[in-house]
Symmetry: C2
Subunit: 344 residues, 2 copies
Amino acid sequence: MKVTINDVAKLAGVSMKTVSRVINKEPSVRKKTYDIVMDAVNTLNYQPNLAARNLAGTSSFTVGLVYDNPNAYYVIDMQNGVLSRCKEEGYELVIHPCSYTDSNMEADFKTMIKRSRLAGLVLTPPLSEQNSIIDMLDEMGIHYVRVLSGRPSDEDQDTCIYVNDYAAAYEITAHLLSLGHKNIGFLCGDKEHKSTTERLEGYQAALKDHNIAINNALVYEGQYSFESGVEGAKALLGENNPLKITALLGGNDEMAAGALFASRLMGIEIPEQLSITGFEDSPFSRQTWPKLTTAHQANDVISQHAARLLFRKTRGARNQDKDIITTFTPSLVIRESSGPNSAS
Amino acid sequence: MKVTINDVAKLAGVSMKTVSRVINKEPSVRKKTYDIVMDAVNTLNYQPNLAARNLAGTSSFTVGLVYDNPNAYYVIDMQNGVLSRCKEEGYELVIHPCSYTDSNMEADFKTMIKRSRLAGLVLTPPLSEQNSIIDMLDEMGIHYVRVLSGRPSDEDQDTCIYVNDYAAAYEITAHLLSLGHKNIGFLCGDKEHKSTTERLEGYQAALKDHNIAINNALVYEGQYSFESGVEGAKALLGENNPLKITALLGGNDEMAAGALFASRLMGIEIPEQLSITGFEDSPFSRQTWPKLTTAHQANDVISQHAARLLFRKTRGARNQDKDIITTFTPSLVIRESSGPNSAS
DNA sequence: AGTTAAAATGACAACGCTGTCAATGTTCTG
DNA sequence: CAGAACATTGACAGCGTTGTCATTTTAACT
């Protein structure tokens, strides 16, 4: 019933160790031997036992995905991306949701790492942006790859995958400017996320490049949530829109959806009276009315590359994956929530 | 650096095996010994190595969660529920997304099970409802717990957690009936999901109990997706609403949101001209305008109980968890998308 | 062909734990 | 207080793999 490496070795007429070499793709195996062993592997439908490999080997075959993110779509995408690579490489994935406000997060973390010696960790924002965590991991000698908001100029292409929120926000803002908008509001997400400042700076840079004065009164400081989007829109547009805002950048799709909701309550027509844009292109940016103009962020692809980067570090010389992309720029997707400035 | 069971044994002045007994909560350990060992465990901050336990023991410490569901909110909730129990019990979770249309799903499945001998599996709809899969697992002798749509009368409380969609649909329909609606449309989800027929039957039963004739023209057969909700609403309400529908039950929140979207396109006011209800109470039922009346389904709690049920099976006599709930009925949540029938 | 270096393979211990079974303590019986 | 019965503990093998190092085979030279 249960097929072990010994069964394969016996069938192939070689030693256990040679089979081990074959399944680990070690170089010094004769082509002919390799084929014989692989035949045996296939006929027996052999699957190496993960627990044994993890126990015996120096490197482990499980990777961890750590996240602190309420956005289910984001988490699932990241998970699927990492998972797809894991499957290909024969790794196992252990997921670890946590809260960065939680005081015993650190202990929690260590427990996880101890229990199953990990090959490495994929960290997502905002945890990937916390120095205390990075330091801890460095100290413990744990491999990791960070997915975070940043620009190509940011160095450390060896442990980081950057999402260029700056450029994407610039592009969205430029889109709105090209539609004739001048008073453009901005709904900030959580301060803990680097993406918040990156997006804000991209927005400001675009305004500057188009010779529009930056007005801090147009910026609402909130969180990346629907409710915060509602609040932000009310705060910026309430009392008859004193700032004469004609376009609103949502910090992400949820905030944009919240702004959409608030606008409806205030009787503001979208996009006729107000353009609203999102960020991330999560499924529900297509499930609002009208559908959101947003910046598409390919989280599944991003996380696949994160996993590849991790494997490259982990398996050292054996694996020199060269086609890893380390900077991703979300791209503008124009839908129905943005339109020309009718006030101009 | 790395603390093993031997270190603990040495410090406690007992044998390795006794430490093993303590951490596995085996009965025949003297209280005094237990305390001494636990002290040692705590001072050394010992964490038993999972790979070693899985390799040496007869029962494994990893459970699998299998799903084929595009709904990110659902998956995350299920995952979190199972994960929280795993954490408490010292188990590890391996997630396994798959597609039931995929032809090599079965092989895939077996591979996963072979690679890491699993303590058991938590199956979610629609996979939990496929007999071919259940048979395969039975044949392989794998423990599992199924989460599926069903009623309390359904037996097999040992391997199944039932979600009483029938009762919930009945309740929603009764709610609409009490608001004076008579021509109530129904947007069916995927046929592959048992929940679809359960919800449909609940709806029909409520109509029947209120002496309203069942009209199959009011039922749209679609899928559990936003797009399908859009299509369904258009199909049922288009061409000037010939069926004089005043209320629409969405098969789930996504379909309801789709119906909301379609209504907006058709210039129908919600809830003034049409009531729309969802199902599941996923986050975005609160992020539509107006917010959806729906049935709250506590997926995280459900999956926690699923995990508990699995552990009870797995650990046999040692664990006689008696407070496991095996039937959950989603409960009506009234929000703004349903209102009195203005046509009456 | 004879020697030597290099490549390919194998024998065996070890990874950290649990299962088995034997050995020791402890309590109870008459 | 001896002896049985039971509760508690320990010694040791083994789970299925990989790492180390020794051995054999092949290739590359004189």
